[in-house]
Amino acid sequence: MPKPFTPKVVTANALLEGDVIYLAADDSWVRSLSQAEVLTDEAVAQIRLLDASARQAEAVGVYLADVAPSDEGPQTTHFRETFRATGPSNYAHGKQAEG
């Protein structure tokens, strides 16, 4: 049986500064997971992924990451994505510094 599709966001690193980025519904790259577009349909997710992967001059290493939708926007479901969304734990040098 195929695994049921779970909600995803498109994520990558920005080409110029390496920062973690997410694809928003208006096709812009945003820095905060809360502004990311949540994809609940598998076919749509694949198309969004393909389109985003083609944007070579903006993003590196585009992929789909699992999220759980919530009232406050998408939440991470794996600790790796949590660290990507917030930054390293030893210094406030990542997104946690931006609040």
């Binding site: 080409l15 500064e17 070579q56 290493g61 600790f79 390293p88 030893n90 040098h93």
Partner: protein, 557 residues
């Protein structure tokens, strides 16, 4: 100190010029990431979890003050004000921007530094004993050989596309401080009937399949060293498993073919390589060795040291823990701990780098070393200067008296930075150090090395930690596996797994139970953890970790 020749300088300048254009072409959209990635990796530029990471080589861990100052400048100007010193005598910058990297490389070139062969399937930075040229137990300075190997391997046409990365370490002392038994090739300077030669080990390595290196030859004279090493790498270049990345390292080749067969093949190949070497390497060696002459040591009294040692308990604790025996009378090797309790192991701020550079300039014959244990070393300090050196270190958070103790932890970047990680390493190291500092028992515990890696690649050397900790991902939750009994020295051994891993919340108490068991079972305070473990075996530690029942089973097994 080795000075680059004009040839080296021109070579690095040309490489940087090329890379600058490649970066421009990538940003302008003329190169895809697939095309660009191998080019950036050739220049030490990785893409990590939150940003790029630039890895700069510090060949055999040796730096002068100007170079350290320049590392500080890079940290300040193009990063977030600090750098991370690693187990392979590199420094990593965690936050550079792609556009800035060519400027960073040019700034490094100004002081004879670069990031070449800090990535890729090449011969990586050649590492050496961090007490090289200073240690009382040294037979000969290992760095001339390390520099010879560096020059021979840099851009070596045959060895740019090896089956996998290749790491060489050299020690000049019988006491191994360079972990030569966990390297693809480990070289030890030895003396036989008054002649200096080299013992060569092969096939050590950590990572997914950890192995202790085996002796390939007990002695080659200098004249045969390079052709012998070339023959070894060349044999592996042919036999190495390119079909499977996880089986490509020379340790697997040695394991699959057996050390005797490898030795036979190397000898065969050596018969050819020896003919091809025309002796230019020996002339070069003499030129190199001439540049590693010891500094002009001062012969003055050590009164200032003696009285500070008597009068100041803080200085005494630091001196007892962080100093090492020097070969010259009146001198000491001073180790600067980059492990203040609760901080990130191996990190130094730009200010701290400048302080260390300044100390080297004023009191240390302009020399610094980076240790594979992620600390900095002032190799030549006259004892009379040590009270002043200590005072300055203290004022800058650099005087933690914990070298070799439980809080002197090696920790890889783990999932806080590394894209390959399966769990975090840094917070675990921070918590352990803080905990044992609170307990105030770290000096009582004595020599105990904890090493932590955030994944099976073992960059944090966990396999050779007295207590090793490996961070794993268990169903989306960080989990930490403990190994005991690893050893990175001349008596090297790989640690043994204790059993099931522990959650992030459980791991520090678990380490505490292991240490408590050691304190209860040791014969005397003179018996260090590793010796106690070797005498007692796993059982009492298993009981401490998992309870009486599991401990009994371990005893029966």
């Amino acid at each position: 100190m080795y000075r680059y020749t004009d040839f080296d300088t021109a070579f690095v300048a040309e490489r940087n010029r090329q890379f600058r254009q490649q970066v421009e072409r990538r940003i302008a959209g003329h190169l895809t990431e697939d095309e660009f990635k191998p080019l950036r990796l050739m220049n030490g530029l990785y893409l990590q979890l939150h940003a790029y990471m630039l890895r700069v080589a510090i060949p055999y861990g040796t730096l002068n003050s100007a170079q350290m100052d320049q590392l500080a400048l890079l940290a300040e100007k193009w990063d977030k004000g600090y750098g991370h010193f690693t187990t392979r005598q590199n420094i990593q910058y965690n936050w550079p921007k792609l556009r800035d990297v060519p400027d960073m490389l040019d700034a490094l070139a100004e002081v004879g530094m670069h990031a070449i062969q800090t990535s890729g399937n090449t011969i990586r930075n050649v590492t050496a004993d961090h007490f090289a040229g200073a240690a009382a137990d040294e037979i000969a300075d290992p760095r001339p050989v390390a520099e010879l190997l560096r020059q021979w391997s840099t851009d070596h046409p045959e060895f740019q596309f090896l089956p996998r990365k290749f790491k060489i370490a050299v020690t000049g002392s019988p006491n191994d401080r360079a972990v030569i038994k966990a390297h693809d090739i480990g070289i030890q300077v030895v003396e036989r009937e008054g002649r200096i030669g080299y013992r060569v080990l092969v096939g050590g390595g950590l990572g997914r399949t950890p192995m202790i290196g085996k002796e390939l030859t007990e002695f080659v004279p200098l004249a045969e060293l390079l052709p012998f090493v070339e023959a070894t790498v060349s044999v592996w270049n042919l036999l190495g498993r390119r079909d499977n990345k996880y089986k490509a390292r020379i340790k697997i080749t040695v394991h699959e073919h057996g050390i005797d067969e490898i030795r036979r093949l190397v000898e065969d190949r050596f018969a050819e390589t020896r003919q091809a070497f025309n002796g230019a390497d020996l002339e070069l060696f003499d030129e190199i060795a001439a540049q590693f002459q010891p500094p002009a040591f001062r012969n003055v009294p050590t009164d200032a040291y003696d009285s500070a040692y008597e009068a100041d308990p803080v200085f005494r604790a630091w001196a007892d823990t962080n100093l090492w025996d020097h070969k010259a009378p009146g001198y000491a090797i001073a180790q600067i701990s980059l492990k203040p309790h609760g901080q990130t192991p191996g990190d130094a701020t730009a200010d701290q780098m400048r302080v260390m550079a300044d100390l080297a300039r004023r009191f240390g014959h302009d020399e610094l070393r980076i240790s594979h244990e992620q600390n900095v070393v002032l190799p030549h300090v006259h004892k009379s200067d040590l009270p002043e050196v200590h005072k300055i270190l203290k004022a800058h958070g650099l005087a933690t008296a914990n070298i070799g103790l439980i809080s002197d932890i090696i920790a890889c970047p783990g999932m806080d930075y590394c894209a390959l990680a399966t769990a975090r390493s840094i917070p675990i190291a921070q918590e352990i150090a803080t905990r044992f500092d609170e307990l105030k028992i770290e000096h009582e515990i004595g020599d105990l090395k904890i090493k932590i890696s955030g994944c099976i690649n073992a960059c944090g050397h966990h396999h050779v930690g007295h207590i090793g900790i490996l961070g794993l991902d268990r169903a989306g939750v960080e989990n930490y596996q403990i190994t005991l009994g690893g050893d990175a020295t001349e008596t090297a051994s790989l640690g043994t797994r204790t059993g099931p891993g522990f959650s992030a919340e459980e791991i520090v108490p678990a380490v505490e139970r292991v240490v408590q068991a050691y304190l209860e079972h040791r014969e005397s305070p003179e018996e260090p953890f590793l010796a106690a473990y070797r005498r007692l075996g796993m059982a009492p530690f298993k009981t401490a970790l998992y309870g009486e029942e599991t401990g009994k089973k371990a005893r029966a097994a």
